[in-house]
């Protein structure tokens, strides 16, 4: 059985002023196997983050269901951990304090918190910076802390919401390779939301392409590039082929968006 099973998922929002109901995600079905790295890609407004937040249990479902290891998702749980976009670190806590935060919230009792946190900090390569505060770190380092905080609670599923979205192109590439290195050691099931095509291909076993109005899955693409991967595969023919396919999908979305703008 798949580890994550999403069936006929629909999420509606009520717009605060007009009271109009607006559907962020509709008729989404997806299964993710244990240990699989799945990226979710799509242009802005396609509901990809909403889908991820629903799996995290931070958004309530209007229709359908999400199951993790056969258990219905009704809220956040210790089987999942989220890596958010930047700035979700507590600015008054040190790197170690931040990595301990998730463990404290889960009332972790698997031994010494400090030791566990340091282990994770070393895993993401920040051993020397454990006493630094977030404002003393670069964007890339902050996201390493974010990843360490999520891994510390030893989740079954790692959920990542455009974690490298605020980083410059070069740092983003380095962080992608770094994430794969960590993931290969931690062996977690991963759901990773991005709008960056190269990132989506580079990381994935399986790419979920989403479209807009309302957010739905357009296609699920298997990625058969060999692992472990490094930057060299960015230039392979298979990679180019996948990139072309994804570009076509996103271009389609962009042109329909322009049409809407012209009509409006």
């Amino acid at each position: 059985m798949a580890q994550i099973e999403i069936r006929d998922l629909g999420i509606d929002y009520r717009k605060p002023k007009s009271n109009e109901v607006f559907s962020a995600v509709d008729s989404v079905a997806l299964s993710v196997e244990k240990g699989e790295f799945v990226t979710i890609v799509g242009s802005s407004g396609c509901g990809k983050s909403t889908l991820l937040m629903a799996v995290a249990g931070l958004v309530s479902l209007t229709r359908g269901s999400i199951e993790i290891d056969g258990k219905q998702v009704t809220g956040p749980g210790p089987d999942r951990a989220v890596v958010f976009q930047e700035a979700s670190l507590l600015p008054w806590r040190s790197v170690r304090g931040n990595v301990k935060f998730g463990l404290e919230m889960q009332r972790w009792n698997g031994g010494d918190l400090n030791e566990r946190a340091m282990q994770m900090i070393r895993l993401v390569g920040l051993g020397r910076f454990s006493d630094y505060h977030p404002h003393q770190l670069s964007g890339g380092m902050r996201q390493r802390v974010n990843i360490a905080r999520a891994l510390a609670v030893d989740p079954e599923v790692l959920l990542m919401d455009e974690p490298f979205g605020a980083l410059d192109a070069q740092t983003r590439e380095i962080m992608g390779a770094e994430l794969l290195r960590i993931w290969e050691r931690a062996k977690k099931t991963a759901l990773f939301v991005t709008h960056d095509i190269d990132e989506a291909i580079f990381l994935a076993d399986k790419i979920v392409v989403m479209g807009r109005n309302p957010g739905h899955i357009k296609e699920v693409i298997k990625v058969d590039l060999p692992r472990p991967r490094n930057e060299a595969i960015l230039d392979s023919d298979a990679f180019h082929e996948l990139r072309k396919r994804l570009r076509a999908h996103l271009a389609e979305d962009m042109s329909s968006m322009q049409l809407v703008q012209e009509v409006a």
Binding site: A56, G57, P76, P78, R80, F84, L90, W92, G102, H135
Partner: protein
């Protein structure tokens, strides 16, 4: 960094110079007969009178009386302001219930309640503390409220994703995040508590700096009065600076603090 230091030093030098300038101008203006010393005294006379009052113990008596009321009023305002501010920041209903009182406090002068307090508590220390308490309460309450209420939503969501309960979010996210804003409220409260004490002492007291100011004022003894005025000003600056220092200690993690 160096330019900033240079600028800060320059600002310090200029500020000191302008202070000295005023004092010198004051002395000269009176010495040359430009201003009648009856209205304003002179720095040298005030200094001499300060030494006299210092030696006969009246400086100590007045400062002690004022500080006694100050400490009580600020302490009470801090406890009440922070507790109410936390409740109102966390529970929108509490905020709504308290809102009219805050409007009153902002729009009506607090001194207007003075006669009422006199009727309840009599002339003297309890009334002075009550008035100064009301003076100091508003900024402490308002800052605590806004600190808790404006808790970073991203941080709260991250905490929730790890299974944090509402109390966890309050204690581990909202509260520590509000400390700098609360300290700023306390700093404002210090200035207002001192103002409240001195103003209340002007109306009725047996000791204290405000009492000394009215007492000598009514006797037209300008020099003796100026001594207490200068002490009040210095005290106010000193206390506020102490709080500014403590404030800077608590918000070192803030990226937007431009220090």
């Amino acid at each position: 960094m160096i330019a900033e230091l240079f600028y800060r030093r320059q600002a310090l030098v200029l500020g000191t110079l302008s202070m000295i300038g005023i004092v010198v101008f004051w002395q000269i203006a009176v010495d040359t007969g430009f201003i009648n010393p009856f209205f304003i005294s002179t720095p040298s006379q005030v200094a001499a009178e300060f030494m006299a009052q210092f030696e006969d113990g009246s400086v100590a008596t007045n400062v002690a009386a004022t500080l006694y009321c100050f400490v009580w009023s600020l302490g009470l305002a801090a406890v009440v302001g922070i507790v109410l501010g936390m409740l109102a920041g966390w529970f929108a209903d509490v905020e709504a219930a308290l809102e009219p009182f805050i409007w009153f406090k902002y729009s009506a002068p607090t001194v207007a309640f003075y006669p009422l307090f006199v009727a309840w508590l009599g002339y003297g220390t309890p009334t002075i503390i009550a008035i100064a308490f009301l003076f100091a309460l508003t900024p402490i309450y308002a800052n605590t409220l806004s600190g808790i209420k404006n808790t970073d939503r991203d941080l709260a969501r991250a905490a929730r994703s790890f299974g944090a309960r509402p109390l966890d979010i309050f204690l581990r996210v909202a509260l520590p995040g509000s400390v700098p804003v609360m300290m700023a409220g306390l700093r404002l409260g210090v200035g207002r508590a001192l103002t409240g004490v001195v103003v209340a002492e002007l109306f009725g007291a047996n000791a204290g700096l405000g009492y000394a100011i009215t007492y000598y004022g009514q006797l037209m003894q300008t020099t003796k009065m100026m001594v207490s005025i200068v002490i009040v000003v210095v005290l106010g600056v000193l206390l506020t600076q102490i709080l500014s220092f403590l404030e800077s200690k608590t918000d070192s993690w803030r990226v937007d603090s431009n220090r």
